[in-house]
């Protein structure tokens, strides 16, 4: 018989309940292709363990104490880029699903799923497949479409600005005041102030804060960076 010489999937388990972690460890280690390399009982510990063990897959409970599962997911995705994250949740919840995916998870499964499904989902996540409960697909797609429309609308509104006004908006989004805008653009603070007022007027906004939120929420920093490049 040929031996399977593939490396086992290195798994980190993060769940606030030791009984669940222990059960998952026992179940996963009955599978020849899994090796549990670490456990964590809270969010910060999950991040630390992920950095220490560099797992292939992290199973993260969404309701971890001390830094919730979404925050831990976001930090692990940033600090351990090779680690694929599967979020576990008590129930199917659209907001949690979307938050998980936005934080960097590529899989989402409920704790009520049969254990065989959880094992298979972990394998698929390791392969890089996006896995979510099929019943939630429609709502998720609707949300993606809505986001795309909002982004397209923001790009259209950005199109009302002149090149100079886009440069001003980019600096505004980075927290610059009138003097901070004026200096790199080699204009006076008064001229900077006028540009800011024009930007706000064209975007239909009432405050600098609103303009900054518009840029950040619609992920427009890259668009604006292209203007000043």
């Amino acid at each position: 018989m040929e031996e399977d010489d593939r490396e086992p999937i290195r798994v980190l388990l993060a769940d606030g309940q030791s009984l669940f972690r222990e059960a998952m460890r026992v179940v996963l280690e009955t599978q020849p292709d899994f090796h549990v390399v670490g456990e964590a009982a809270d969010g910060m510990q999950a991040v630390a363990e992920a950095e220490r063990t560099r797992p292939d897959v992290a199973l993260i409970d969404v309701h971890l104490p001390n830094g919730d599962g979404i925050r831990a997911t976001s930090m692990i995705a940033e600090r351990v880029p090779g680690c694929r994250i599967l979020v576990l949740c008590e129930h199917e919840d659209e907001r949690t699903l979307i938050s998980s995916l936005e934080a960097g998870a590529i899989g989402f499964v409920t704790k009520g799923s049969p254990i065989g499904e959880l094992i298979e989902t972990t394998r698929r996540v390791h392969q890089g497949e996006t896995t979510i409960p099929l019943q939630m697909l429609g709502a998720l797609l609707a949300r993606l479409i809505s986001r795309k429309r909002e982004h397209d609308d923001a790009i259209r509104r950005l199109g009302r600005l002149t090149r100079r006004e886009k440069e001003v908006l980019a600096l505004l989004a980075q927290g610059a005041d009138n003097a901070g805008i004026a200096q790199p653009l080699v204009i006076s603070p008064e001229t900077a102030r006028t540009h800011v007022q024009n930007v706000l007027g064209k975007l239909g906004m009432h405050s600098r804060l609103e303009a900054v939120a518009f840029v950040v929420q619609n992920s427009l920093l890259d668009e604006l960076a292209g203007v000043s490049a």
Binding site: T130, L134, Q135, L137, G138, A139, L140, L141, A142, L144, I145, K148, R149
Partner: protein, 96 residues
């Protein structure tokens, strides 16, 4: 030779008389007007949910590509086929 699919510009809308019932992993659409029942898989249900009269097929395809990472042509074929089946069954209509 197979003909390449094109994306319809019109927007599909669910027939308001038709209702969806989900029981476990099974989803069924019932059309009381025709007294017909259609069993749907999860992908068909997801597309059914998006048939709100406001979402264009191109938007559905783009979102599914983004989520699944599948090639555009594959998703275009699947979405178009499912919408054709909905239309043949009389459970959607198209509006410009």
């Amino acid at each position: 030779m197979t003909e390449a699919r094109t994306v319809r510009q019109a927007r599909p809308a669910r027939n308001p008389q038709v209702w969806l019932r989900q029981a476990g992993s099974e989803s069924v659409v019932y059309d009381p007007g025709r007294e017909s029942v259609h069993v749907m898989n999860a992908t068909a249900v997801a597309i059914w949910v998006l048939c709100d009269g406001d979402t264009a097929p191109a938007e559905m395809i783009e979102a599914i590509c983004q989520l699944s990472g599948l090639p555009y042509d594959v998703v275009l074929e699947d979405v178009s086929r499912i919408l054709d089946e909905f239309e043949d069954a009389g459970i959607i209509s198209w509006s410009d």
